[in-house]
C-alpha cells in the first residue's frame, strides 16, 4: 500500500471516528458533575478496608484480578524485550569503551540524589495504601533512581552494583508473591485475592490488609523489570558490537 492510499484510508476512518465520537460524547454524563456512581460505590468499600488511598484500594483489592493480569503483562513484556535484545550469534559484548567523564556538577547532583531517589522509591512503595503512590509508581522511581549512577558515574559503576540476576529474581519473586497472596486468600477460606489479613488501624503503616503486601510485591516486580529492560537497551547502545555488517 503506498503512502497516498494509506493516508486516504486513514482520513476516511478518522472522519467516521470523529463523527461517532462527537455523537457519543453528547451522551456522556455532564463534565465535572457530581454524579459518579462507581466512585460512590468504591470509596466506602476502600474506607471499610482501612485504605485511605482509594486508587490503591481499587488496584490491589477491588480490581485485584485485573492487576494480576497487568503484572503478568509487565512480566511477559520484560521477558519478551529481553529475548528480543539478547545477544545474537554474530554479536558480542566488547570491553566497555572509555566514556567521557560527566560534568562535575552532574556527578555531584547525581551522587547526592541517588540515595534520595532510592529512599523516595521505597517510601512510595511501602506507603502505597496511605498516600499517593503504590507499587507501580514506586518501582519505576526505584529503577530509574538507580540509573543516576550511570548518569553521574559510569556504565562500569552501574554494572558493578547491578548484578542482573538479582533483578531477575526480584521480578520473579514479586510476581510469584502476588499470586501466592492471591492463593493465600483461598487457603484462608475466602476467594482468590480476597483481603483476608487483619485490616489494622486506618493510617498506620501496617494496615489495609493485603493492599500493602500486594503493593510491595508489585513494587519489587516493577523495579526489577524496569532495571532489566533498561539494562538490555543500555547494553545494545553501549557495549554490543556486530562482527558482520547488517545485510
Amino acid at each position: 500500500m503506498n503512502r497516498t492510499t494509506r493516508l486516504v484510508l486513514f482520513l476516511l476512518g478518522a472522519g467516521v471516528f470523529a463523527v461517532v465520537f462527537v455523537v457519543a460524547a453528547f451522551g456522556l454524563p455532564d463534565f465535572g458533575a457530581a454524579v459518579h456512581t462507581y466512585r460512590d460505590a468504591s470509596v466506602p468499600a476502600a474506607l471499610d478496608r482501612a485504605t485511605p488511598n482509594v486508587v490503591s484500594a481499587l488496584v490491589f483489592d477491588q480490581r485485584g484480578i485485573d492487576t494480576l493480569g497487568e503484572v503478568t503483562i509487565v512480566f511477559g513484556s520484560v521477558l519478551g524485550a529481553a529475548t528480543l535484545l539478547r545477544l545474537a550469534q554474530d554479536e558480542r559484548t566488547g570491553p566497555d569503551a572509555d566514556e567521557p567523564t560527566p560534568l562535575p556538577v552532574a556527578r555531584l547532583f547525581g551522587f547526592v540524589l541517588l540515595p534520595v531517589a532510592l529512599v523516595l522509591g521505597v517510601n512510595v512503595v511501602v506507603h502505597g495504601h496511605l498516600t499517593p503512590g503504590g507499587g507501580f509508581q514506586g518501582g519505576v522511581v526505584l529503577a530509574t533512581g538507580l540509573h543516576l549512577l550511570y548518569v553521574a558515574g559510569s556504565y562500569r559503576a552501574l554494572r558493578r552494583v547491578r548484578p542482573l540476576s538479582w533483578y531477575h529474581y526480584a521480578e520473579a519473586a514479586g510476581t510469584g508473591a502476588y499470586v501466592l497472596v492471591g492463593c493465600a486468600g483461598l487457603v484462608a477460606g475466602q476467594r482468590f485475592l480476597a483481603n483476608f489479613l487483619p485490616l489494622g488501624e486506618t493510617g498506620a503503616l501496617f494496615s489495609s490488609g493485603t493492599v500493602a503486601v500486594l503493593s510491595v510485591a508489585v513494587g519489587l516486580e516493577v523495579a526489577g523489570g524496569v532495571v532489566i529492560l533498561l539494562a538490555q537497551f543500555l547494553q545494545q547502545a553501549i557495549s554490543v558490537s556486530t562482527e558482520r555488517t547488517p545485510s
Binding site: 478518522a14 471516528f17 486508587v55 509487565v74
Partner: protein, 115 residues
C-alpha cells in the same frame, strides 16, 4: 457543547494514528502509538472529573466525606499507563532488531519477511 477535554482526547488519538500512518521511522511510530494511547488517559480522567473535588486520597486534610474525583477511572488510567509503557518497550526492542536485521528503520522499506 462538548467539553474541551473530550475533544482533546479524540484529537490525541487521531494525532497519534496520523503519526503512525505517516511514519518514516519505527522509533517515531512507537512514540506515535504512545501519543494515541495518551488520548485514552485524558478521556478516562475527564469522565471522572468533578468540579471542586480533590484527589481520592484521604488523610488529615481531607477527611472521609470530602468530595473526591472518581477513583475508578484513575485506577483504570494507571493500568493503561503501565500497559502503554510495556508496549512501548516491546516496540522499541522490535525496532532495534529490525534495524539490525534489515539495516533500515523506515517501515515503507520493509516489504519482505526475513529470519
Amino acid at each position: 457543547m462538548i467539553p474541551f477535554a473530550y475533544l482533546v482526547a479524540a484529537y490525541l488519538l487521531l494525532l497519534g494514528c496520523y503519526g503512525v500512518v505517516r511514519s518514516r521511522n519505527l522509533v517515531h511510530t512507537a512514540v506515535c502509538v504512545s501519543v494515541a494511547q495518551s488520548g485514552t488517559y485524558v478521556l478516562l480522567l475527564a469522565i471522572g472529573y468533578q468540579r471542586g473535588a480533590v484527589a481520592p486520597v484521604f488523610g488529615p486534610s481531607t477527611p472521609p466525606g470530602t468530595p473526591v474525583v472518581d477513583p475508578v477511572v484513575q485506577s483504570l488510567t494507571l493500568t493503561d499507563i503501565v500497559v502503554s509503557a510495556t508496549v512501548t518497550a516491546l516496540l522499541l526492542a522490535l525496532a532495534i532488531q529490525v534495524a539490525k536485521r534489515h539495516g533500515t528503520v523506515d517501515p515503507d522499506e520493509l516489504n519482505a519477511l526475513r529470519g
